[in-house]
Assembly symmetry: C2
Homo-oligomer: 444 residues x 2
């Protein structure tokens, strides 16, 4: 069944995904001769760089998300639908979705990335990813629930597992999450759980390669590790995770770790829509595009952001999966689409590297901007400033700012409600709400 | 299996429920010769008077809830456990819970109230209550989802049902919710859903009795109704709801209403724990107590707040189920317990009526304080001030204040994320998240 959309005299650009790339593209097409249709499975944009703060009780989910409809309030050529795309019918220039069939003139895949478990089903089943708001909320609930459960657990092994928190993956997300849990342990747990022996709470950060923050300078890598160690995190580099059954984490050539909490930030892969030619998927599950983000082999299907890989000699694996790359690609694609319909020459993508940064904890961050590298308090303020400025929405900026100021002076983290969105059953074995009344659970 | 709790030389007071009454009681027992054990199925206190603002996108859940452990950080004789009480074994002075058996010397039931469907299973199954944070979040998601779904619905009846919002019950919660939805319709929907015909969005407030806000002055009742009508709400007094199958709302002597959204605020009943003598349950499902909140027939089991009814000639149905009554009873019970163990005479409860108020919308509220009655802008500011002051936690006060100031100037409501906690299946029929990965869903 065809989905009825408002009619337009202009060609239709369908954008799948309201992340950084999709939003930039749609904005830049304002007042241009296109009908812009955005599809997303959520009704909001997620500011992914701050998800770990939601997961660790520092921020409310509403303050790092933004209703997509609101971003485009004043844009007349913009249409939004909450839906999940199930198939691309490239030969018909159409998409299948759970609300009907949608035709396009130009299709842009801006679906971002999802957690990569590298085919290990057991780890996928038992560990907690952190790529969306519901996942971050579940993680927050799990961490807090494990503290609650540790108080009533009599079995020593099980108790120890509840208090061992393992973060797998030493990229920015892993480093930031491990640091945030270390701060929870230091500033929140002693007050909230005076009965608990703090010496039994352990935080591990496990990374396959010999260094943390692979993409950053050696200086940043070393300092970040120093910060983490100083904060009490057990950093284990050159360590490979073999399996995790929900209770025992198995490592290569190292002793096992008993743990109820494995947070998986070891890798991402492009979130590819079914129906495209799989031959064009390269390393990291990304769609191979030319330098104008056109997917190789299709005349009118583009990919931008994390799901796209512009393969050139200089970028054999594509560009980094970060917000600035997505935004720059969205921006350029808008220009190129306008040029295309006005028969002007198209431009190739040039990535402007804005640098990279990661925060480890209070007054502790590392920043690389080109040749400029700094760490510590000033880096921390830089990190906060950049994230506040990038956050969508004035209200969100204020609320996040106040939460940060408040946390800075109180050493506290305010958002500690245990509210499950959806959960893997392992993480709760005592049941405290009227779930009997739930007939079927669905998450939008 | 007995739950192990820290040992104490003092008698143990077990409080079931971290609402207004339970918190007040526990606080007042600080540094007194008791061990205080609080049990709650959530790890947070819910500020119920503002739940409707969470349900209508005005506030984030985290800003009207407060971690219970944090309230009692500095209280050495306080122990908290997240659990659900399943039975009272009065003859053994013990409770059964889902984490084990707990003994008490004094038991205080402060479980509050739950939605009362007056035995109508069909309505219970299909309507949305709003007594907890997960329920308020589900309601928020349902309202927003129904707008999204209305855009793609082709069947005229179904479309009309999606855009008819019915609030049942004309007490403060019903009035406030209907008013908030009217403001959503007026200020948010036109911007977010430019494709939608606003004339098709209808809001109904249905009340059994001839007036709204039964407990308030005639002046307040009349003015509240005027405000609602002015804001476009169809107020239907003297109207009895007979049934609701999820699509058709049946009324006595009136035409049916097609609606996908029925919000149930027509009544509450005490949330009674199994195991107590049911003979002592009075009207509204409340536990009958003497004037010192001792449940009739038990030597050491008390009830305070919404779940309690102090039956005297002056109060044949007990006191109003409002925060001040619960707080005052908690306060007095603390004194009386201290007096009891020091063999001093006990005091009877005297209710100090602080007045009542309800907000209908921007600049529109009604306030009764004794003989003083006022309505409009000043009442609205009074309402906001009182609620801000009563809200637990400094950070919450600031965040709520900023949200209100921001909404006042922007006419917007910031928290519009669709995140389901648990859902009745009727409310979503298109599925947009990876629920396939959910093995079992539990809500804490």
């Amino acid at each position: 069944m065809d989905l009825q959309l408002p009619k337009s005299e202009y060609p239709r650009v369908v954008i799948i995904g309201g992340g950084f790339g999709g939003i930039e593209l749609a904005k830049r097409l304002k007042n241009k001769p296109f009908q812009v249709v955005m599809l997303d499975k959520h009704n909001y944009h997620t500011f992914q760089p701050l998800l770990y703060q939601v997961a660790t009780g520092g921020l409310e989910p509403d303050s790092i998300a933004f209703p997509l409809r609101k971003i485009f309030r004043a844009q007349k050529n913009f249409i939004f639908r909450v839906t999940k795309v199930t198939d691309v019918l490239a030969s018909e220039n159409a998409l299948l979705t759970d609300i009907g069939k949608i035709n396009y003139d130009y299709l842009v895949i801006a679906t971002g990335s999802t957690s990569n478990f590298f085919g290990n089903k057991e780890i996928e089943e038992n560990s907690m990813p952190m790529k969306s708001i519901p996942e971050a909320l579940d993680l927050r609930s799990m961490i807090l629930q494990n503290f609650e459960k540790s108080l009533i657990e009599k079995d020593a092994d099980k108790k120890s597992a509840l208090l061992n928190f393992v973060v797998v993956g030493g990229g920015p997300t892993g480093v930031e999450t491990a640091g945030a849990i270390a701060e929870l342990k230091r500033h929140v747990v002693p007050n909230d759980y005076p009965e608990l022996d703090l010496n039994k709470v352990h935080i591990y950060l496990i990374e396959n390669s010999p260094e943390l923050l692979g993409v950053m300078s050696v200086q940043a890598q070393t300092k970040a590790k120093d910060f983490l160690v100083e904060m009490g995190v057990n950093v284990m580099n050159s360590t490979r995770v073999l399996g995790y059954d929900g209770h025992t984490l198995t490592l290569q050539d190292k002793p096992i770790i008993l743990t109820s909490s494995v947070i998986w930030s070891a890798g991402v892969k492009g979130e590819v829509i079914p129906g495209l030619d799989l031959a064009e998927i390269v390393r990291g599950g990304r769609l191979k595009t030319d330098q104008q983000n056109l997917i190789v082999g299709y005349p009118n299907i583009y990919a931008i952001g994390d799901v796209a890989a512009i393969i050139t000699e200089a970028t054999p694996n594509g560009h980094p999966g970060v917000a600035p790359a997505a935004i720059q690609q969205g921006n350029l694609l808008a220009k190129n689409l306008v040029n295309l319909v006005s028969n002007k020459p198209l431009e190739n993508f040039k990535y402007f590297d804005k640098g990279s940064m990661a925060t480890v904890g209070r007054n502790k961050a590392v920043v690389d901007i080109g040749k400029i590298r700094f760490q510590g308090v000033f880096a921390w303020f830089t990190w906060m400033f950049v994230h506040l400025m990038t956050l969508v929405g004035f209200r969100n900026k204020i609320i996040v700012f106040i939460n940060w100021v408040w946390s800075y002076f109180s050493y506290d983290r305010g958002a500690r409600l245990i509210i499950r969105t959806f959960a893997k059953d392992r993480s709760i074995d005592y049941q405290t709400d009227d779930v009997a009344s739930v007939k079927e659970v669905k998450t939008l």
